[in-house]
């Protein structure tokens, strides 16, 4: 038996020596165990469930192919949009996806600069999700021009027409913002992957596997010099990405805010859009990771604590969004502008009332449920609420776009937008692209940053004086450890304490 003092001392020893918090990774795993747990899905045989998931996602992706082919052949007339609702689902989907793409870089850049260690378990998957969401987002402005073979007009390229995009238009800034964001995200993600790809290379059994992962890991040897460069590059890229997280959705909001349309022409748009983007991004990360951690048995790496942190961020950003919704109404009234007042009354009580109240319920009410500890620590509850948030954030963009446009200044032009089957198939198909890419990511890329997670283990600290955990060759002891530690009501790994107590 341990005395109370001894137990306390051991707990301190296992926890972070600086901030004295419980370790982030449960089950007191060894370095090797982390590698094994994360590499298993990449190195094992392809699971039949993965095949099922992949074929379903790929089938939906083929719907996207068909819908886009039909669109390119026939033009945007196949969609339900028409004057005065010239933007409808296309731009709604664009803003929806680009918003989702905000979580990854926020996690890997801003949380990195703030030294939030819990980001290490989720940053890889979140960044991958970001890149796939940006890919989905880029489709929509690309195809909504109708004649996609002249989509290069969006870029300022020298041409025989002596024609340039309008540099004063936020639509052009948007092209830059989104493309820079996509590029930096890919570079940041890939750079972070290099040490882990090298791990896969070094463990590879077959020649082809060795060559492919060897090629992708660009000669990483794990030398001190490589790690120094790696750390420097991470810091530089995090510094570059941080303003991008804020700028991209700010500029997306300018697409609306700089026009003189009631309901769009508001100064609150940039912060409101950024908060909404982070909100929806974290919701999507939570949706995906709750399933992934269960399916791949990494619940000791992506723990309840991680999910709880994400739920808290959702509550913060969801409250900001709710505040913005209310303030818009206040400003509409306070401005005394009859058109502004009309459009906001129309949003809530006009023909699109159902969309408005769907948005309001999902975005304002549902994240407030996370004030209850029982709900923000329950994966099932977080999963359901995050889905509602995703639905709500899609409706937010639809409400902003459709309600402001459908009541033109000229009442004879008033219009009620309804989507056609092609609107719906294109949007549904973009999920096919997203989930197909995510399936490939899960199968071929380490879904958690192995090297970074190891760095937050207690024994990674140079001042660690306790006993190194022994390799545990049994395949999945993690679940047991999690269950036990949760029963005891703290986040200390029970098995670790027990094992040490045996000495």
């Amino acid at each position: 038996m341990l005395t109370k003092n001894q137990a306390q001392e051991q707990q301190l020893q296992l926890s972070d020596p600086i901030d004295r918090r419980a370790p982030l990774i449960l089950g007191n795993p060894s370095f090797n165990k982390i590698t094994e747990d994360i590499c298993r899905p990449i190195e094992g045989k392809t699971h039949v469930v993965w095949w099922l998931y992949f074929f379903m996602a790929a089938s939906i992706l083929s719907i996207l192919g068909g819908a886009l082919g039909h669109l390119i052949y026939n033009g945007t007339g196949i969609w339900g949009l028409n004057n005065p609702v010239g933007w409808a689902w296309d731009i709604t989907n664009f803003v929806f996806w680009i918003g989702i793409g905000h979580a990854g870089t926020l996690i890997s850049a801003i949380l990195f600069l703030f030294r939030q260690k819990w980001r290490t378990s989720i940053n890889r998957a979140a960044e991958a999700m970001t890149i796939f969401a940006v890919m989905c987002a880029l489709i929509f402005p690309g195809v909504h021009v109708g004649r996609i073979w002249v989509a290069y007009y969006m870029l300022p390229l020298p041409n025989q027409m002596s024609m340039w995009p309008n540099f004063r238009s936020p639509l052009l800034w948007d092209v830059f913002a989104v493309n820079i964001y996509g590029t930096v995200s890919v570079i940041f993600w890939y750079m972070g992957l290099i040490p882990d790809l090298a791990t896969i290379r070094d463990r590879a059994k077959g020649k082809i596997r060795q060559i492919i992962y060897g090629f992708l890991s660009v000669g990483w040897t794990g030398s001190a010099r490589h790690w120094m460069n790696y750390e420097k590059a991470t810091l530089i890229l995090a510094g570059l990405s941080t303003p991008l997280v804020l700028s991209v959705h700010t500029i997306v909001s300018f697409d609306f805010a700089t026009s003189v349309l009631p309901g769009w022409h508001t100064t609150i748009f940039p912060p409101y859009f950024v908060a909404g983007a982070v909100f929806s991004g974290f919701a999507m990360v939570a949706t995906l990771l709750i399933v992934v951690r269960k399916a791949y048995d990494i619940e000791h790496i992506i723990t309840i604590r991680h999910l709880e942190n994400m739920a808290k961020i959702m509550t913060v950003t969801g409250s900001m969004v709710g505040y913005a919704y209310c303030l818009e109404f206040f400003i509409a009234w306070y401005s005394g502008n009859p058109y502004e007042i009309f459009i906001f009354k129309n949003r809530a009580f006009g023909p699109y009332w159902w969309a408005y109240w769907t948005m309001f319920t999902c975005n304002v009410v549902s994240p407030q449920l996370f004030w209850f500890k029982a709900l923000r620590t329950s994966p099932v509850a977080i999963f359901i609420i995050s889905i509602f948030v995703n639905i709500g954030m899609w409706f937010e963009r639809f409400v902003i776009i459709a309600t402001s446009l459908h009541r033109d200044f000229l009442p004879s032009s008033w219009f009620y937008f309804s989507p056609t089957i092609w609107d719906i198939l294109t949007f549904a198909g973009s999920f096919g692209l997203f989930f197909t890419m995510f399936a490939l990511f899960l199968r071929f890329v380490p879904m958690v940053a192995i090297a970074e997670v190891k760095s937050v283990l207690p024994q990674a600290d140079p001042h660690f004086e306790g006993e190194m955990p022994k390799d545990d060759p049994s395949p999945a002891p993690a679940r047991k450890a999690v269950a036990e530690s949760e029963e005891e009501g703290d986040l200390m790994p029970a098995t670790a304490v027990a094992r040490q107590g045996a000495h």
């Binding site: 390229l157 025989q160 027409m161 002596s162 090629f215």
Partner: protein, 218 residues
Amino acid sequence: MPVIFPPWTNKLPLATAAFAAIAPVGAIVFFWYWGSPAFTDVGYQPIQPVPFSHQLHAGQLGMDCRYCHNAVERSPYAAVPPSETCMNCHKLVLKDSVKLAKVRESHETGKAVEWVRVHMLPDYAYFDHSVHLAAGVGCASCHGRVDQMKLVKQEKPLSMGWCLECHRAPEKHLRPKSEITNMEYDPVKAGYKPDEDPDRVRKVSQLAPPIHCSGCHR
């Protein structure tokens, strides 16, 4: 750990990075030069059904452009002449020439000779010959020295940028009314000042050739 790749592959990342930097610039330069009408369209010289020589008619014989292209001052189209116009002379001159067989046939049957169009603007670009002539733009400005061509070929790119060059600064390309069809006249060499010409009704500043989209894309 055994090595997987030979040493030369150490250069691959650098080469890839260099390629990634150069490739987009290369692609832009490629399309900018080899994809522009100045490269693809200039020099277009299709074989015509009848070997009509502008060099002979407009050059050596000194016929005015407007003898055949008679609608050019009044209509958007310069007009390709009907075979009747040819036969005005060729009833008497070279009336049995083999080269003119198709013209005679057309004259008899009333079916037009199928000339191949050389200067082709896209359908979405509106162009009117008469306003350009009224403003004092000469034939040679857009069509080149047709009086020196045995077989007509496209000499100018007719690209949008090329049109805009003149629309933005027309004064260098204007000439007196009397010199419109004069192929040899060069307004810069002649030192022509449009605003000092008493025959011109409007000053250059009043011409205001459109440079907005719907000026030509109506």
